[in-house]
Subunit: 217 residues, 2 copies
């Protein structure tokens, strides 16, 4: 499948590399076509990897992973115009973190709204699915790295078909069905985005980022 990964940071690279490994055609999108990180990635990624501008990648992808910084997500998804994302599944992995000069980041959007919902409102024809935003990127694409994969990935979105497409990709990453928890419509992204403040504090107190939340029941 042709997949766009928007963002060249750790998260974008982890997802793009894993998708190539799984045999997908992957175009990593960045602000400029000659982005250094994208060029470094393509030098080591296998065949099936390509790079381009955000707009190039959006046009290329049947499915789009949004792995940008939260502050850029809304604009980046519109890089090729709203019509270019109409009907496409957009898996939003980003979080609306706001960094300040001191202390842990806060959320720029939270409680009564979420970045996932803002994306869906701005691009009503896109099929936004919030997922994978609650963990370190190494676990996103290889859940078995800790506790034998016995922990949860959440899925939020309005479109049932787009959520199925997302779950299919999650299974390819190694997620077991029992650990893919569909929370409901895109407004449930408020819950998963608001997990970030706790994620940051667990990471701060334990010094370990390779963990994930499990629902013990």
């Amino acid at each position: 499948m042709n997949i766009a990964v928007l963002g060249t940071g750790m998260v974008g690279e982890a997802i793009a590399s894993r998708l190539v490994e799984l045999g997908h055609q992957v175009r990593m999108g960045s602000r400029s076509a000659d982005n250094e990180k994208a060029q470094a990635w393509i030098a080591k990624a296998g065949s099936g990897a390509s790079t381009g501008t955000f707009a190039d990648a959006i046009v290329f992808g049947e499915v789009i992973f949004l792995a940008t910084k939260g502050e850029s997500s809304l604009d980046v998804l519109g890089a090729a115009g709203a019509e270019a994302v109409a009907g496409k599944t957009v898996i939003d992995v980003s979080n609306p973190l706001e960094f300040s000069s001191n202390g842990l980041p806060t959320l720029a959007i939270s409680n009564t709204d979420s970045l996932g919902e803002q994306l869906q409102r701005r691009y009503p024809e896109a099929r936004i699915v919030k997922s994978l935003n609650t963990m370190w990127c190494g676990l996103m694409v290889n859940p078995n790295l800790v506790a034998g994969g016995d922990h949860e990935v959440f899925v939020s979105g309005n479109d049932a078909e787009a959520k199925e497409q997302t779950k299919t990709l999650l299974r390819q990453f190694g997620w077991q069905d029992a650990h893919i928890l569909d929370l409901g419509d895109i407004s449930t992204a408020r819950g998963t985005e608001m997990l970030l403040p706790l994620w940051l504090r667990v990471w701060q107190s334990t010094g370990v980022g390779a963990f994930n939340f499990k629902i013990a029941r």
Copy 2:
């Protein structure tokens, strides 16, 4: 030990009953001394149980559990004056939930502040510890009810001694040391209070409240 439990709801009752069972002297505090729920509780609770006004209970307790609705917590803790809580460990189990006519509750305080911090600022001589606020009350006092107790309770507070006192009580409830995660100072209560929106959505999607979050690592 003489312990106050402020609040007569499900949470207050679960904690007060368990403390009596463990052999503590427990005074349940409520707005009026003849509160019906408090009277119903004392009729079935064992010896060691007593009831009174919030002020009575605060004066009685060496340790205070704050199990009120979040909107009342700040005022209730001052029912006997600020000097009555000076030096005492206050275990704040409440959450700043704001209920609206439709949809899930939101948080009245979040992101850049927390109820735990507001309590500490309002009563600077009290030793506020945020804990147990991230789960159904049945699990607070009996973690073995699910997954053999293999899930987490968080602790946030500025005072090391008060946190140790809290951990001692958590152990009496059945929490294993490995599952008591000290996140740091009271500002880390932002993380645990912001878990509530996800808790509500997991509960909504699974229909089960008897679950808790585990850190899989």
